[in-house]
Symmetry: C2
Subunit: 337 residues, 2 copies
Amino acid sequence: MNDIKSGIQYVFQTRNRMTLAVSGTGHTAMECAIFNSVEPGESVLAAVNGIWGERAADMAERIGARVNTLVAPPGGYLTTSEIEKALSKHRPVVFFLAHGESSTGVLHPLDGIGELCYKYNCLFLVDSVASLGGAPLYMDQQGIDILYTGSQKVLNAPPGTAPISFSERACQKVFNRRSKPVSFFLDLNWLANYWGCDEKPSRMYHHTGPVTAFYSLRESLAVLSEEGLENSWKRHQSAAEHFYAGLEKLGLKLFVKEKHARLPTVTTIVAPHGYDWKEVTSYIMKTHNLEISGGLGPSVGLVLRVGLMGCNSSKEKVDMVLAALKDALEHCHRSKV
Amino acid sequence: MNDIKSGIQYVFQTRNRMTLAVSGTGHTAMECAIFNSVEPGESVLAAVNGIWGERAADMAERIGARVNTLVAPPGGYLTTSEIEKALSKHRPVVFFLAHGESSTGVLHPLDGIGELCYKYNCLFLVDSVASLGGAPLYMDQQGIDILYTGSQKVLNAPPGTAPISFSERACQKVFNRRSKPVSFFLDLNWLANYWGCDEKPSRMYHHTGPVTAFYSLRESLAVLSEEGLENSWKRHQSAAEHFYAGLEKLGLKLFVKEKHARLPTVTTIVAPHGYDWKEVTSYIMKTHNLEISGGLGPSVGLVLRVGLMGCNSSKEKVDMVLAALKDALEHCHRSKV
């Protein structure tokens, strides 16, 4: 468990003592973050540029928070001035942002937002499920107060554990709540003790952790540490750029226009004109044994989504996907346009 | 997933359509049961004869239920007349009971309680984490409305998934709530669709399940089905009786006096007089590489706890534990008494 903690501290680029893995998937970590940091009646602001902001808003509403959303169209993102305006208007205790919005393929810029949250006395909560290890992210330096990810994306471990970390400022709020969090299982008071993050060295029984999954998480963190974060970021970026060039050669268009806002791990392709996107993904699944998705949430019908991350982020795998797409475009039914 | 459903229906002895595995451990299933079946302000009654009733009460309080407990001393259990009195007084919407109370080693009698709950228009919620597969349990026949267990006890699978089932009567209440459950992740509306338990065949994306763990759960259900529930119950009972006899020969006393109320999977031994129980368990761990626990919650300091379940429930394993205990009693320091 201590090795896992150190591994998470490295991949999150944080020195936070309150760093651990939740016994569940990314959604569990998302609820862990919100359940602990928000009390009923408090104001929460969620940036919505895809499905994840919607989910965070849903979760916060369920526990009785006053929730406002700041919406960008699918494929877009929010500017710091839009964010500042909303922070100043709604005065939230927590601001949620998905770093990697996997439903639209957007990598949300982070610089400057941590400072704004600090200025408005608000905790900065970031979802990095789809981005961690695939794009630069510096928890401490970027002023992120709560950060979580999943084990099954760039980390390549089986799903079932979710790294999470809380800053000192976040802990101040969490450990001075008036009400108990709605979940015993995700109560940070208990989790902190279970993971040896607090000053009591008791590690009292709290719940039975998914031990086998913890071993695989430990190994996946070791693999990423061995490669080095910078190398992993570069590898993902260069594989993604190779993919973008190949897609353009096929006459396909990228859904996210601005290069710097493209998520290297999940590429969204504008659903090819004249084709039924479902036929394309089914053909590729059947013929190439390769799973490509349609959109999710606000991007349904608009895009094809290709996930290439962790061990799948390489020139060879990109070429494999490009060949499958080329074949599909040649063999799928094309309506007269 | 369908195989898992069928397997759970068999080991739970139920025909409930709403049968699935929660993506988490026993505590997650416990929260899934309570979060879905209870609304804020509603009355909940929890039978407390160890740690599990306390936890259920804690969980229900956190979501704003009015909680009453019905307490039996550690090692004891509640009679149907005590339960009826409390049901009639508190008129709860849910009555919680742990079938296998692992902290005290009690197997709580179930017969007659389902009928009482029905009579008082209350859902009967049973925790079978420590008992399922190790002692007779018939969900439908015994009128249990919500039943859950864990994957890592008698089932011998890694921890991280938790079978759960809801009766028609439970579904009626869950799907006619006025408020949304506090957890999106555990909302039965979503889980039902994800597991194909509802009428919509959509199986929409809800969360990423712990897929590897699902495969192991499927296999563990197949193993138990192959042995047959009755055979497994008999095997656990006969190993436990062999253990009881051996313990008495060593001069040790069983914590649960009434034979029919002893949990075959977890045996509680009265902490041997004149010994420091911590020295005994440490000695056995160090010398025999065998983990025996002290008490948990209300049984701390009172007992030694020995878990023998699933593949560990056999005459050979019992003899191994008896030899270790004998050795410890001979070699550990004994205070003059």
